[in-house]
Each structure stands twice: as structure tokens, then as C-alpha cells.
Symmetry: C2
Subunit: 583 residues, 2 copies
Amino acid sequence: MYRSHNCGELNASNINTEVTLAGWVQKSRDKGFMNWVDLRDRYGITQLIFDESRTDKAVFELAKTLGREFVIQVKGTVIEREAKNKNIPTGEIEILVSELTILNSALTPPFTIEDETDGGEDIRMKYRYLDIRRNPVKNSLLFRHKVAMEVRKYLSDLDFCEVETPYLIKSTPEGARDFVVPSRMNEGQFYALPQSPQTFKQLLMVGGMDKYFQIVKCFRDEDLRADRQPEFTQIDCEMAFVEQEDILNVFEGLTRHLLKEIKGIEVDKFPRITYDYAMKTYGNDKPDIRFGMKFGELNEFAQHKEFPVFNAAELVVGIAVPGAGNYTRKEIDGLIDWVKRPQVGASGMVYVKCNEDGTFKSSVDKFYDQDDLANWAKVTEAKPGDMIFVLSGPANKTRTQLSALRMELATRLGLRNPEEFAPLWVVDFPLLELDEESGRYHAMHHPFTSPKPEDMALLETDPGKVRANAYDMVLNGNEIGGGSIRIHDKATQQLMFKYLGFTEEEAKAQFGFLMDAFQFGAPPHGGLAFGLDRLVAILGGQETIRDFIAFPKNNSGRDVMIDAPAAIDDSQLKELSIKLDLK
Amino acid sequence: MYRSHNCGELNASNINTEVTLAGWVQKSRDKGFMNWVDLRDRYGITQLIFDESRTDKAVFELAKTLGREFVIQVKGTVIEREAKNKNIPTGEIEILVSELTILNSALTPPFTIEDETDGGEDIRMKYRYLDIRRNPVKNSLLFRHKVAMEVRKYLSDLDFCEVETPYLIKSTPEGARDFVVPSRMNEGQFYALPQSPQTFKQLLMVGGMDKYFQIVKCFRDEDLRADRQPEFTQIDCEMAFVEQEDILNVFEGLTRHLLKEIKGIEVDKFPRITYDYAMKTYGNDKPDIRFGMKFGELNEFAQHKEFPVFNAAELVVGIAVPGAGNYTRKEIDGLIDWVKRPQVGASGMVYVKCNEDGTFKSSVDKFYDQDDLANWAKVTEAKPGDMIFVLSGPANKTRTQLSALRMELATRLGLRNPEEFAPLWVVDFPLLELDEESGRYHAMHHPFTSPKPEDMALLETDPGKVRANAYDMVLNGNEIGGGSIRIHDKATQQLMFKYLGFTEEEAKAQFGFLMDAFQFGAPPHGGLAFGLDRLVAILGGQETIRDFIAFPKNNSGRDVMIDAPAAIDDSQLKELSIKLDLK
């Protein structure tokens, strides 16, 4: 071992101890007769002192040659520091060095290894191994490990069994695009990397392994949006002999455990709202409920007056922004411009100032009297001093626009405290959603989700109205987990594939093994999956997932550090019986 | 929840309790007026009783329709069983059923769901979800989970951080064949699936994450031998600021912990032997030391006599087989035939019976007198009643042959008790091995392994003699883990690539990022990886890994259950800019 202690543990109680430390040179301050070096490792920073009068001359001179990020080993004595630093655990002591060994030299790093670095995203990714030396990244990786361990412990203690499912599986062209892997031993055939272990976990239920989980990599060959990765990690779970209520309870318990163990925060029982309620109340199926600003539907009090815009709209809907009644004309105009940007797409916005004296001043005073506006205030739960913003138009679009405004205002008002946690369940998702382009219905969750039995009859008459036993866990405006009760009989599964536009042959070719399995005694079952990258980032109080992934890829799916993907040898292609077919 | 209890937990203390159970029908015995059903779930079997005189008629009749593997839910009362079964925890009670719900019917399974099944390997793999219902497979998966959890807890408690490394990386044509993944977004380029996270874990060391582990899938596109899988799981570990001794101690501690926690077995400090000693003493770098039969080299006492076969041989070497002195001529001939089979390849075998009276009787009495044979007995540590078998020929080949015989005899003599555990370390592996075909040296472990500093000079003069800081952990004749101290400076790594026949350009193209990293302050580091599949199988007392993998592939790399790999759509190929190039 190159060290007797790490750089984060020595304090006043160790004074006069002989120690050996190893680590990186964070910085050195050479005052001529005295030279201080901050030695850093994963655990902290310890100050070394080289003193002309007390240090061996050769050691003293060698210390002057140390550059930033040199790797060194020192032996010395723990002594009391003159100028104590109360901000770090080792701040009361320093090491009077007697021996110094340079274990490795270092070129000057391309960015500073500090909490606030001067390195941009690209250079940090290229030298990710240097970036990981920085506290924000290092601590994110340690935090991720802690979360994953707690998840495993909690579920194991409940008799869940982690089962590894295969990575080399079969491509199913439905849903997102698969990454595929040519098989050398099976000429002309391909494996696919799993988008999730969905069918395997269901087969484990058929196999009697009634509580399964796995922390597992999943793969989707999608065009990458910001903060999406082609490989990502799920906490994948499934249970047999359960109803939706049981699953919600178990995984609410898990989440509550994480918040308590990791963040020291106790949360109440999670609110449960339906998808319909979420859409009507927040314009969003993953509402951030750390703050109010619930939607108030104003059709009753805003239509059939003289304002043609509202009269023509399918939906008139508003929110009361707390304390925004004193916004200036300029601020209001800014917000109107904001909602009219193409990314939001509103055609205009009406506002109502709720004055402290109980009166109202609106941009539509020409059409609405004080009683009308008082009704609007009532519906939107506006208080004196608030501002009501109202949008109108087609219902779905308008809700989405108002949701965007609600989130933007919450951010501006500082209502999205990353250290406050407001989890909830959204339940009763629609089974199907209409793809506007193809006019076909797609499974909203996936084709294995069970419709609510009482809605089965609607499949023939009004498929869009069929609700599923499907649920999402939402935390601070992010979907962090989602799942469903699954179909567990062959006939219903066949029917579902039919409604989704599979021919019988397609269904059999792709999912025949699952439908076969359902014939041999499949128990009722269901489950869910959490996105670990996102969960960890949110628990860590961060917006982006990238610092919680050791070696992330960029938006082109490239690892710029190892420079992958890359061309491969012709001999490899030949062995795999494929050739390039460049456009 | 479909149940109040599971099928493994009810006993006499629950008598008179009303319970709800759910599970599979293991079997039913219909005596006309009385019908017993064994209900099975993951946790055990509970007997249900339907009694004409006590059970509701409709329930009684419904119970008669139950087939094997039907999924049912029952409500009823726990009562004392008349004919108790002491062999199972629930054997004192049965459930007098009042309500019965058939949750799902089942076709007759294609093989019996019993500990000893009538299903062959192929059919069990096709219906793996039924196979998993069988105790031997189910218990293997639960056992695997337990081992993995203990590994994680042990290493976490020592401040190791589990870091997920990427699965989509870059192909490196050295070593085994990579599985590759065409990139749609980077036309003509490919990712590779990792054969191990080797370079990433070293970069984590450069990044200061000084104790890393990961339980991780790895991939090798090799022609599959029996009991190899194209995807397999490693416990991958790395540490910085350590020497070989530190690594051996940590992972010896882990293994001792597993043996104690999982098997309840305390083992002494692991013996450490060098690679040279292992080869000379056991003819094998992964010796099974649960038994003796150490090799005795007999050149000194067997050559320069009148026996030309031995005189011409590079090596004459024997083992003393305990208690085998009374083997019949037929048994001995059988063993001679066994070593002459092409799989072993010896050209003959000499034997010496060690009589109880201290005399010897050998197949070469013509050439050797009793004193000669007494020397042989001394060297092989033979005792009266033992049999010495002697092989001769080229040293390496002869050792391999005698090793095969040693293992075979141990098996026949019952010396390989799967519930006895004899771990050891083999150290000082050669750095390089000569590839007989190409005449080139290859890295025996991998190109990142550090030569022993004292052997560095031999690299120029006698590369095959250079020893590495490399080590294997061996358990019961299996290599279960191996690793090395790594090179951590650019110059040595460049030199190593040169000796391995890389051009400078090749080294830079494939591993430039690692050599770059070594310039920015790389600490001394090393590590190892355990094969989890094998480790779990051995701890579980089994020879084959397949039952410890939920969904294994067959020897053609196929998953016969889901029928993968498979053809993919032309549109997928086109998007990936590849086409088939069938032979």
C-alpha cells in the first residue's frame, strides 16, 4: 500500500503521528524558504509543508519541481497548522514532509481541476478521466453508487431477486429503433440490444420468480435530444400475484426510503392523480407539484360574451401567478412574446391583474366586467396581488402551452427548489394514443399493458378512451418511473396485437414465445421501471444527467474520449457476412 | 395482493387462521370424496384439501377440473394434517379450501416440473420459463443473487464505488473477437461491445476513483466451447496506490467472506504458489488442491538405465495414487488406454505397485530394481498400498497429460467433493507467451500488465522468461479470478505495444486515449476480475454454469426460446448503411 491514510481523514487527533500519503498535487505555493503543497485524493485535501529549516535539502529542492497533477507519495509527521482552515476536515493540521517520491509526472491539464473549471463541455468529455478528478463529477458518481446500493438493499430485503437478463436478444421493429449486432456464427442474422428487459421479466413471472428486479443497461437508437443517451440505465422491476395498488405501495416505499436514507427527507404518502386530472390541471402528465398555479378552466365565464377569440376557442384556461400582480407592462409584454415563440406557439395571451383592493385590471376590460373577472379569479384561485394569465385555443395544444408558461414562471419565481421533493403517482393512463401521421393507434406504454377490464368494450367503439392499468411516478416535473399491470392471457394479448395493427404472422414471429408462455400457466403480474440516470440526477439536485454518468456520449452518440464509433477492419466485416452500403 | 401468505411459510402455529394463497398446481390426488392439491410457488408447497363433506359443492367440483400448472387462488382455513410430512416446512398443515379461483389454465407442460425432470437440455431451454419453475434452476438464480449482493455489500463497505462503464465502445482487433454494433448516426462506423471494461477502469484510476468495482456483462464472439457463453458476467475490480500484495489481500478477503456468509465455511489464509511451481507440481496453472498426488520428477532416478523410452524423454514424471496399489491388471490397462486416447495423447504409461510389505512391483521391473523404485516412491511421496503412474516425453506435453490423469483419478476416487473448498493464488505468471503458429509473442494476461521490474532487462534477450505482476485466484481446479498490476506510464506502455508487434500508428489508433491519460498523472494501480457465472456455479457445488444463468444461449450462440439471432428488415439494414454479404 502506498499510503497509511487518505487525504481526507487526518485532523488534530493525529498530531505527531508519522504518516504516508499519496495523491495528486492540487497546487503549490512556493515562498522561497517555505513551500506548501495541497495534496488531493478521492477523499479530500491535506496540506504538506516543506520548510528550508526543517526539511532535508534534497527533499526541499525536489518539492520545488512539483507541477499541478503530479502524482506523489510523501512520508512525514502530522503537525498543527498555524493558519487553520475551518472549511475542510483536515484544516487544523499539515504534514511536515520528510520523504518525497514522485510516482508520476503530469503534463499541464487542459482545464483546471477545480469545482468551477475553465473547461467547456467538449474538452471535459475528451479528457473525462481528468474531469472525474473534479469534485462535482466525482461526487455524482459516488452518489449514484450510493443510490444504486440502497435500491438493491431495499428490494433484496423485500425478497426481490436480481436476475440478469440477456443483452443479445431479438430485434422487434415496433417502438423505438434497435441497435443490432451481426452474428458471425449465424450468417445473415442479427441480435438486438434490449430497449428494456420487458419480455424477459414477464417470462420470469411465468417462471414463478414472483419478485424480480435488475439495474440494467438499455439501448435505444434514437436521434438524440439533449440529455438523452443511446445507452441508459433502468431499475427494472416486476411482481406476480399483485394488483396495481400493491405495485404502487412497494415502489412508493422504495422512493420514500431513498429520500430518507439519501436526502434525510421524510415525505407523506404520495398523492395519486389520474392522467385526465393531470392534463386538465397541469396540462402535463408529469406535473411539478412543488408549487400551485393549477389550471382554471374559464369557458363558462369567458365565452358567450363579446370577445370573439375566446368564443371561438375549444378551451379558455388560466393560471394565477402568485404575487405577480405588480408586473410591469414591459414584463407582461415579455411573457406574451415568450408564449408566442415557435417553441411554445400561443397566438396571444390575456392577463388580469388582481389588485390588492379586490378590483381587477385586465387586457380585456372592454369585454368583461369586474364580476366576470371575479369569477375567473375564483376558478383560478387567484388572490389579491396575483396575476392571472389566460390562453385559449384547441384544448390539448392550449394546455401544453399553458403548462410551458407555468413551468417558466415557476422557475423565474424560484418555486423549483431542487432540494425540495414532491413525488406523486399519475394513474389511469390511456391504453392507446393516436399517431396523427399514420392515423393508427399505438400503445402508449407498450403492447403488453393491460386495459382496465371495465373499459375493454370500448376497444371496438372508442379505442382512444380505453384506460390502462398504467401508472407513472413523477418527481419534481420529471417522469422517473412508469409501469403497468400486464396482460397475462394469450387471447387478450392476441387481441391487443390485432388492435395495434399486427398481422397474426407478425405477432407470432416477434412475440410468439411470450404468447406460448401465457398458455402454460401465467400468473397475473405487473411492474415498472425507473430511469436511474434521471432519478439520481434529480435526487442529486441537478437538471442534467451527464455528470452522473462516468463516460457519457455526446449528442451524435459519440464517445469523444475513445473516439467511438469507428471504422472496423474489412476482415471483421467479412467474417460477419456484411459489407458497407454507404449513401 | 392475491395472497395473504406464500406457499412456504404456513405451519402448525397458523392452525385455524384464514388465509389466501396463490400459485401453481403441482399435482392433485383425487380420491373421489377427497381431493388433495399441492399448491406451489417460489417459496414452497402447501397442501390443499377439498373434502366432499366439508367443501362447498361447486368448489369441490371445480377442484376436480384443475390440471398440472394451472394458476389458482384459494381461500381457506389452515388445519392440522392427518398424515404429516416431516420433509417440508409446511408438512404439518393443510388448507381446507372454501373458495377457489382459477387465475389461468395451463397446457400440459412439455416436461415435468420436478427436481428431477424428464426434459432434455434442448426442450428445457426452449421453455426456459417452465424450467425456471423447477427448484434446481430457481434456487440457482436465487443463489446467484445472494452471492452478487454479498459481493456488493463487502466491497461497498470497503469504500469501493460501483461505476457503470459504457457498453457501446470501440473495437480493438487484438485478443478475442469483438461483437460490433453498426452506428446509424455515424455512417460506416461501428461500436463494439466490451470484452471487459479494462481500459475504462484504468481511466477511472487515472481519474482518482481509487477503488472501483462493477458487476458487468462482457462479450466475446468466440467459437463456443461447452459451458462458454457469448455474454458473461464479471466482477470487475481495480485499485490505485496499491501493490500486488494489497490486491491479493482485499480479494482474498472477499472470497473468504463469501465462503463464510454463503457456505458457512471458514478457510485459512490462501496458499500462494508461483506459476512455475504450479506447472511443475500439478502440470496445470489452476491446480485442484483438494487432494495431493503432487508430481514427482523422476529423471534423476529413471534415466541412464536400460529403459530407452525414459532415457530419450525430456521429462519423466509420476504421481502416487493413494490406495490404488490393488488395482487389477484390467483396471490398469483401462487407465493406460485412457491416457492414450487422442484427447490426452500419451504414448504409454508405466506403473509401480507399492506393496503393503514395502516391496514394489512395476511394469518396468526388467530395467529397475527395488532401490530404484524406492527412490521413485520417495520422490512421488507414495506410501505402501499406493500406485505410482509414470509418464514421459516432452516436458510441457507430459505435464499436461499427467495433469489430466491426476484429475480423472481424483474424480474416480471421489476426492473432488463439491462442498469442500480449496482456494489458492497462483502468482508470477509469465508476461508473454509464444504463439506457436505465428512465432510471435502475445500478452498472456493483456497488454496492460506490468512486467516485474527486475525482469525488464530480459524483454530484449529472453522475452518468454519475463515474469509479470499477474495473479490468478484458483478454486477447486477452476480459475475464478485473475488480474495484474498495470503499467501506468506511457513509455513502458509504448514499449509493451512494440514488443507485442503493434506499429506506433496501430498503438495510437487503438489505445492512444489510454497513453494520453498516462501523461496526465496516472497513479500506480492494478486489479482483477472474477468470472461471476463460474464463481457462483462452484460455490453452488455445480460443474456447469448454465443453470446459474436465467436465459443462457446454446453452443451456436442461439437463444432457442426467443429464436435469436434472426433476420432483420431490409429497412433496418438500409438505415445502418450495411448490406448482407453472404458466403
